[in-house]
Symmetry: D2
Subunit: 310 residues, 4 copies
């Protein structure tokens, strides 16, 4: 085992940035990237995570992924740290994306388990250790069992946290026992970020480092305020803001019939607010008019309510 080094801690709201696309649903909307980055940075976020699940990473061609890394880092221009998703089934492609990220000035990379074959925990451990050995940027583990078919078990995370180059975990499992077990077992210089925005408040209250919340693409200030309220243990404020987050969760992310409703709803709402276009890459398609009408009505209502408290 490598000696434990002083690892940099990351905390706060780090939105998983959606990927703005042109109307062919494939080509990067570079102006959209610039506009969205300004929206996020001016909203006070503590970092930006590109090429995650919300960023449709796996649906994008490699060329587009590279372009997104470069354009995002350029637009951010060092104002906040950029985290780059390098999740892939081919370790060579992951390492290549990490290289692009490093050259572009990213702060860290993030990798979910390779997601085609079923892996055992020992195989997963060896994979991550070997990947971290070959990276120069620090690595966040990314637990996303619903999509990758494997949970990075508590014991595996603890073992991997010994690697000097593995600095944190983004957990999107929504499993609260898993989260508490990690809080209890991990050393303090390991960053624990959670995905689902519905639980940012409670995980920060219990010792988590922050949230990688899709809704922060829409209203970065709302999520930053919720994070601050949780850090301050200001329960009146938490209640007020958590209610708004739940309104987004229940009225924007569940309009359609499938798991894709989250992504379609989020991009639909971003378009309704004039932030980026709703275009979405295959295998998904943008909401049709009926669903979009509902999303537009709901997000306008929510926007008005947020304006009252922020």
């Amino acid at each position: 085992m490598a000696a434990q080094t002083n690892k940099q801690a990351f905390s706060g709201i780090i939105p998983p940035m959606v990927t703005p696309l042109l109307s062919d649903n494939l080509t990067l909307d570079v102006k959209g990237v610039q506009h969205l980055v300004e929206h996020l940075v001016s909203g006070g976020v503590h970092g930006i995570f590109i090429l995650g699940t919300t960023g449709e990473s796996t649906s994008l061609s490699y060329k587009t992924r590279e372009q997104l890394i470069i354009e995002s880092c350029k637009a951010v221009n060092g104002r906040v740290p950029v985290f780059v998703g390098i999740t892939d089934t081919s370790i060579e492609e992951s390492i290549h994306l990490a290289l692009i990220a490093e050259r572009a000035g990213a702060a860290a990379v993030v990798a979910a388990p390779p997601y085609y074959y079923g892996l055992g925990q020992e195989e997963l451990y060896k994979y991550y250790w070997s990947l971290a050995d070959q990276l120069t940027l620090p690595l966040f583990l990314y637990n996303m069992p619903s999509h990758t078919k494997i949970n990075i078990d508590v014991k595996t995370v603890v073992r991997l946290s010994e690697h000097p180059n593995i600095i944190g975990l983004k957990d999107s499992s929504a499993n609260a026992v898993y989260f508490q077990s990690l809080c209890y077992l991990l050393k303090t210089n390991f960053s624990l970020l959670v995905g689902p925005e519905e639980i940012t408040a409670e995980t920060v209250l219990m010792g988590g480092n922050g949230g990688v919340n899709g809704g922060a693409n829409l209203f970065p200030k709302l999520y930053v305020a919720l994070y601050n309220a949780a850090v301050a243990k200001d329960f009146a404020r938490i209640d007020e803001l958590q209610n708004l987050v739940m309104e987004i969760s229940t009225k924007i992310y569940t309009v359609g019939s499938y798991g894709s409703s989250y992504l379609k709803g989020l991009k639909g709402a971003l378009s309704a607010l004039g932030i980026v276009e709703a275009n979405i890459a295959p295998p998904f398609t943008t909401f049709d008019e009926k669903e979009m009408t509902k999303v537009i009505a709901n997000i306008k209502e929510i926007e008005a309510e947020i304006a009252k408290v922020l």
Copy 2:
């Protein structure tokens, strides 16, 4: 839909009582029941839940289940409310158990979905509505997807909460997004209790009504203190007690190789503390000597640590 009535709220620590068995692993240990009930009631618990998953309900014969209901209610003697699990694949048997429970003086019954056939949400909704119609005691829904193969979806819970006889939900899913969605969508006169003790503090902080925590069989006072600290939002105390709860979780419940480790560890620890015997019903078996030695050493250590803070 039936008109919403004034439903009784239940809150606090309501341990899922283990079922003390004699050494044939089948016969109820009546003295053990009496001893354990005293241990729990004198530990300050707010209620007792018998015939749950921790109580090995489904492994017991119907005769033994009936006997347990009667003996438990007798031992409790009205000091705290008794909740009786009536989970079954046969609605007739569920209703029959509820009748026994009512006669014995129980406060409410608790039912997980019928767990053999795969059900659709609409089928599940109709099942629960019909069951509640046929019960005289109030009913708690019991969400336990890992064991029943079906999640009681948020929308189904909300629809069922309209039934005047359905008064709450015990959620053992550990899914924090599910819990937050219910907190947001449900009316306040519906009790939300959570199963896993690792998340009692955070769910109470966020608006939950309490915990149905297996570890409270061992140390009822610890869990009651944690609940009180969460209600009081006393974070220093929460941290101190949460640490002890996590120690039990990581050192007692994960000693063996399978999912049954929780039950085997819990009963093993109860036996090590002289509370009840470790006997366990088929399809499980008590830990063997090697695992038991580990459990004994760990629980003694934890007992000493708890003594320092309570």
Copy 3:
């Protein structure tokens, strides 16, 4: 390990008998049982399996299960062997049902794994070995992973086949690799029966002993003829009959929206043919009129086609 004994082999079509119920959806329809038994025996079946998944075993009260055992055996009156499902989560109740079965004159009992807790293979192995030790009738294992959450792995079946009292396996997994592995690894004095009627022909061709086919409740002669054609390797006849079996599968079992369509369709079709009433026990409900109309039309068409070739 016990010495291998000479085990009785069972083969042919052994329908999983539906349980005729009165219009309260709970009470056994005793006349229906007698009528259905005559229909099956006169149709030439090689045995009758009661209290399986198709028989709604887990939905019936214990009283009703006992009554069904007694009435079925009485109606069969030794003309064909009766197999009795004793699947339960409580080993005491399984053993009790087996006792009733023995007294009533059943030939063997059939048990799926206990289906509430998640088990490991070693736990499952010990459970079955212990159960078989306590039974006087011979035992068939019953693999039904979609309902029990556990597959009886190939290695576990092979180990259990060493028990002198475990004489066969009913496999409802539809997993053809699993079946071939068992054919290859098991000794010949172990009966392999398969559940899904769509694959009776191919499994018999490849060495299986027969089918436990729900559709044989409707048309016992069709399934017996298909079995005979497979034994005779008469492919022209197999093609002709397999087509009819697939017509039942695609036009009767998939009319509704959920997994329960099989049971609802089967009972609906039995009612349309005047064999038994369509009543079904909770948690399911009989098809509504619209679905029933479709089932009636389809089964009448199929009945006419079958009449042409049998």
Copy 4:
């Protein structure tokens, strides 16, 4: 819907070719490709499928995938049709690989569902229809639910079979009911190939078009002979050869602890027979010495047995 065209039928044994790698576990072993292609073609196979699950497609970089397409087609040189896997989460990359395949002279492409996001059947249907619209080579669907998290449901296959450019399905589900339903519902000009070699005989007997069998990398003649025996309905020969196939299945593919045992065992055996090196791409690793010793002993024994009957 497009008009049904005359689709080319493919049948026989079409091995999913392993990808020979150099000792860095990443670089294509071009000589290995040439050697393996000769071994397969001279073994009488009816086609070669590259970049499937057995071919570690998703573990290879795009550059390596392209190189493999070009080298394989060159080595085959038109002697048998080449099928190229284009499975990817990015439709752009799938289309690009199909273009490379077409230029290299491949006969068809094969695509499993995009495997990161969870899809609904309607989303899957639209995805495949759109993909087929954009391809010039004919397309095989590839059902691999254990790896892609989605089953291509029977109704979806039937709807997709109407596309003039979708000519068949490779099914690796091992679900015999699924296979029978497709045989019954699909028009005859749609090729049904099955993955698991354990069921090649039975599916060909029942109307399937052939097998995409990993073991044919080792002993192409054995699988061709089994296919021929099944076509001829020669049961004595089927029994003899099926036994050997099952010996490979049980003694080579299950030596290790995880799902990866199949791939590790297959490549280990290929190396033992001097056909290609055992090198395997991350996230997997080659068997260690102990496991390899077992594989070597077993494959030598099997080789000797095969020599007696072929």
